[in-house]
Symmetry: C2
Subunit: 250 residues, 2 copies
């Protein structure tokens, strides 16, 4: 499917992870050389990876300027949520139609992991697991295309959360996931869809409703998060920015 030459794929995966875990805030510049240096590959491959991420909506790569992590507008964000709701409803229908007992077990295991991470205060892990819960569901739908589209929108939702939401808030309440599992077990599609809708409504609310609060402040919000991200002293992903710290795209 998305399996390029494995090397490009690795870069994609790493960047994607970094973006959705909010290690690379929206608007961060991603110069091809620098990224390539980090991953030990030439611009050719970086370019392929960035192109792919762009098609997933995680990266903005305007014609002749440096790619950046995407900074969707509020409208775009709403569109993403709208599509997500549509897809997840279908996922619920399909998962219920193909329900097997082991699904329940697996999902419950997953929720337990989420809870553990949340208790341990591992924000990054929490965010990742919250997304993966939905991905698991997508896989259980048995429809690979649906799974792919769902994966894309879920990633983008994480990005949106990073942009418009409170920094480092995990987007999904564990209890809501638990309710979803219970609803699925009930095998009543309409009921389960209602639960899922409610959950996604909450997620969107958490992601976007803060928005009203600091609509024009977002530059400041972003910068403060930059600082926070940069001071982690993490030697891993974030390339050092030689002079200028972080310039948000525009």
């Amino acid at each position: 499917m998305s399996k390029k030459s494995s090397r490009v794929d690795m870069a994609c995966k790493a960047l994607r992870q970094a973006i959705i875990e909010q290690a690379l805030p929206p608007g961060t510049k991603l110069p091809e050389d620098e990224v390539g240096a980090q991953f030990g590959m030439s611009r050719t491959l970086v370019r392929a990876a960035l192109a792919h991420l762009q098609s997933e909506g995680l990266v903005d790569a305007p014609p002749r300027r440096t790619a950046t992590t995407a900074k969707p507008t509020l409208d775009e964000a709403k569109e993403v949520f709208e599509v997500r709701r549509t897809l997840e409803r279908e996922v619920v229908r399909l998962v219920i139609a193909r329900w097997r007992p082991e699904f329940g077990a697996e999902l419950e295991g997953h929720v337990r992991e989420e809870e553990a991470a949340r208790k341990a205060g591992e924000a990054r892990v929490s965010i990742r697991l919250a997304g993966e819960f939905h991905i698991r569901l997508g896989e259980m739908s048995g429809n690979r295309l649906l799974r792919r589209y769902l994966g894309e929108v879920v990633s983008r939702c994480s990005l949106i959360l990073a942009l418009y939401g409170r920094p480092h808030s995990a987007d999904c309440a564990v209890s809501e996931h638990r309710e979803i599992v219970a609803a699925l077990r009930g095998r009543n599609a309409e009921a389960a869809i209602a639960v899922m809708d409610h959950h996604l409504g909450s997620v969107e609310h958490r992601a976007l409703l803060d928005q009203g609060r600091d609509a024009q402040f977002d530059l400041g919000a972003v910068l403060s998060r930059y600082a926070e991200a940069a001071d982690a002293g993490s030697p891993s992903k974030v390339a050092r920015l030689p002079k200028r710290k972080a310039r948000a795209t525009k």
Copy 2:
């Protein structure tokens, strides 16, 4: 959005069109040099175009072998239709919610074009217009992501038709499109969705149900179509089956 450097984009567009108009039957090899020569660009750009088309599901590009036009399995085809139904339902809802009088006028104009093409016996044009009808609807939904996904799915449906359907059949009956427009005008979402569902059911039936007829024969069906396509004067390809005539991908 998908606007790379415009040159890559052109190649994408051209290839996409060729594929969905069934000028390049599923399984056709697409060596980078050759394609590049055709478009007057180097492998670098062709490669980018092919990667993009792969992510759209129109091209298969396994790790170290020559890319080919995609040859989705029957299961994949069904998945595509399933997703398409989901997306189009949402499109109908949104279009009705944002309905404006000029939508009706535009759609009707489009349907008239379709009818003209159909009467003129222009198969290629018919196929293209049939797809574009759905794309227009996608645009009217006002949701760009939905529009993008719909575009991908519609393209893939054309490809599927080329693979499993009767050769050169346009996939949409014009009258069905007309019914859809009428239903939208009625602004009753449930009713319009029913019409759309019915339409897509017909499309899928036309695309896949021939399939039941010769389910295990599909190799033969494919070969006969190859022959038709490659019909440059050797009418006997079907008769002889040396070992493996047309090696499609696998």
